[in-house]
């Protein structure tokens, strides 16, 4: 890391009368926050996504927002209409089915993106220049493209069915959307892998070479196991962000929680319900992402490398 390491404490010492004045200063030019920020920026750049930091206070704030929304809706209830709690309860099974669909999309996209991304990441450190450069270009192409554009790309360009040996296999919309989300995940995982491999000290490679491991063995048996620890926190953070991004598929017409909420609201046709319903949706996402975000922070702290 940098010259002004993070543990640069200010040391003061009284000089003896005959001691020469020090040529360098013990006072830091910049405080540790500078290297923290540089470090965080480097991590963010590798992961391609900001770090999600959820706290219990966020849940409390959401609950308060939800209660305000409920109160507001309750105040606007006309005589003869069901109360807000009843309405929410009535729609909950539908909304939860939508939410499960979000989770399914996120899980499939993450799995597919991770598998392809791992290969792409290792291709990025290949010794063959064409493979390395091709993988670099692929990674950066998909990292630089906006998620929504990739989503549109897959939605419109993939066929709605394929025929293999006379068997027609339909490709549902949600699968296409999932593939659209898997592409940026793939690129980000690829960069996470490359970053992790490059963060392993070269001495590891040298000692493996001196023990007569070949390149494949070194990568697979020595480097990769050490990488997993470094890859896990950014990978989990990426998953939390992907889960939040699954609401994007509502734009291309997949019936997930967000679009179902909009449909429920138009079916109820009561403007007062808006805040209550949307904060309810947010709350479910919070409930799912919060443990992941907390666990990521814990793993980060545990695996923090002191080098």
């Amino acid at each position: 890391m940098s010259a002004g390491g993070s543990d640069h404490a200010i040391r003061t010492r009284t000089l003896r009368w005959n001691e020469p004045l020090p040529q360098t200063t013990d006072l830091p030019v910049l405080l540790p926050a500078a290297s923290h920020l540089a470090h965080a920026a480097a991590i963010e750049r590798t992961a391609g996504a900001f770090t999600l930091r959820l706290r219990p206070a966020h849940g409390v704030a959401l609950a308060v927002l939800f209660l305000i929304g409920c109160g507001w809706a309750e105040a606007q209830v006309q005589p003869g209409q069901p109360s807000i709690v009843e309405t929410l309860w009535k729609w909950t099974p539908v909304l939860l089915r939508g939410f499960l669909f979000n989770l399914l999309i996120s899980a499939v996209a993450m799995a597919a993106g991770t598998i392809v991304g791992l290969f792409l990441g290792f291709a990025q450190i290949s010794l063959l220049p064409p493979v390395r450069k091709g993988a670099w270009l692929t990674t950066h192409f998909f990292r630089n493209a906006p998620w929504l554009v990739l989503l549109f790309y897959c939605m419109f360009l993939l066929p709605f069915q394929v025929r293999i040996f006379g068997v027609t296999i339909p490709i549902p919309d949600w699968l296409k959307a999932t593939l659209g989300l898997a592409l940026p995940v793939m690129a980000n995982v690829s960069e996470i892998v490359r970053g992790a491999v490059q963060s392993i000290p070269t001495t590891q490679w040298e000692s493996a070479a001196s023990l007569a491991f070949n390149r494949r063995q070194t990568l697979w048996m020595i480097i990769f196991p050490q990488c997993i620890k470094r890859m896990l926190p950014p990978w989990m953070n990426l998953y939390a962000i992907l889960t939040m991004s699954t609401v994007l598929v509502s734009i291309v017409g997949v019936n997930e929680m967000m679009s179902l909420t909009r449909q429920a609201l138009s079916a109820e046709n009561r403007p007062g319900l808006l805040l209550a319903f949307y904060s309810y949706v947010l709350f479910w996402f919070f409930l799912y992402c919060y443990p992941i975000a907390r666990w990521t922070v814990r793993l980060e702290a545990r695996y923090a490398v002191n080098d």
Partner: protein, 247 residues
């Protein structure tokens, strides 16, 4: 130039690759305006979000507890909710509460969808920028501020001329990440019908039925746009890097 455009007409006749945005003046105009809106939207949001970042980081140093709390909750809200939800919140939630003018007969909202997109995206990116600048400011030692005070700088002038320039150099790598992210997020304005590149492209491909061609054009355009930004910012970053810092 005319023969250049005509080549794309020939390409369509010969291969069926129908790039109407090159040979059809109407589509060319539409696409160019979409590209321009995307660039404008990105540029305005970058400027506003950096301004929000600087002001917000300044307010976080405020002596008033209430001001600091307001900035804190602003950051928490925009950092931890999806930008699409924020956009909907501004456009459908706040937008529907505001008054409309009906000068031309039909009701026209006083804040247009483009304005809401700018507001929403700037606040979104601004929340990250406040945190970035705050960490940058924290990195400037107290002794530097004391030195400025001893030279008679006021609190405001110390912040503007001493602390901020140093903090900015430290913050630039993190800021770059965020601004690149912001340019990619401008596509979300599609959801509230802002005529930016994605929206215009979707209009063109539904008129001309050339979805694959437009999709590829769109992907290449965004790749180029973001690529140029990443390149320029990393050059700048290297140029003003504080020696000895960074990874």
């Amino acid at each position: 130039m005319e023969s250049f455009w005509a080549w794309f007409r020939w390409l369509n006749d010969a291969t069926g690759i129908n790039l109407t945005i090159f040979y059809d003046p109407f589509d060319r105009g539409r696409f160019a305006s979409g590209l321009l809106v995307t660039i404008e939207l990105s540029a305005i949001c970058i400027i506003l979000s950096v301004a929000i970042g600087i002001v917000g980081a300044g307010l976080q140093r405020s002596r008033l507890r209430l001001t600091r709390q307001v900035v804190y909750w602003y950051i928490q809200f925009f950092r931890n909710t999806p930008p699409l939800v924020q956009l909907y919140f501004f456009y459908f939630g706040l937008g529907s509460m505001l008054a409309t003018t009906s000068a031309s007969g039909s009701p026209v909202p006083i804040v247009s969808n483009v304005a809401w997109a700018i507001v929403s995206l700037s606040f979104f990116a601004g929340a990250f920028n406040v945190e970035i600048f705050r960490s940058g400011i924290e990195a400037v030692p107290r002794t530097t501020v004391e030195a400025a005070e001893s030279l008679g700088f006021s609190r405001m002038r110390t912040y503007l001329f001493i602390v901020l320039p140093l903090a900015f150099r430290i913050s630039l790598p993190a800021l770059n990440n965020n601004l690149v992210n912001l340019v990619k997020t401008t596509t979300l304005a599609y959801a509230i019908a802002v005529p930016e590149m994605l929206y215009v492209s979707s209009q063109i491909w539904s008129d001309e039925l050339n979805v694959p061609e437009m999709m590829n054009v769109l992907l290449v355009c965004y790749f180029a746009l973001v690529g140029v930004l990443v390149y320029a910012m990393s050059r700048w970053e290297r140029a003003i890097k504080v020696p000895g810092f960074g990874v």
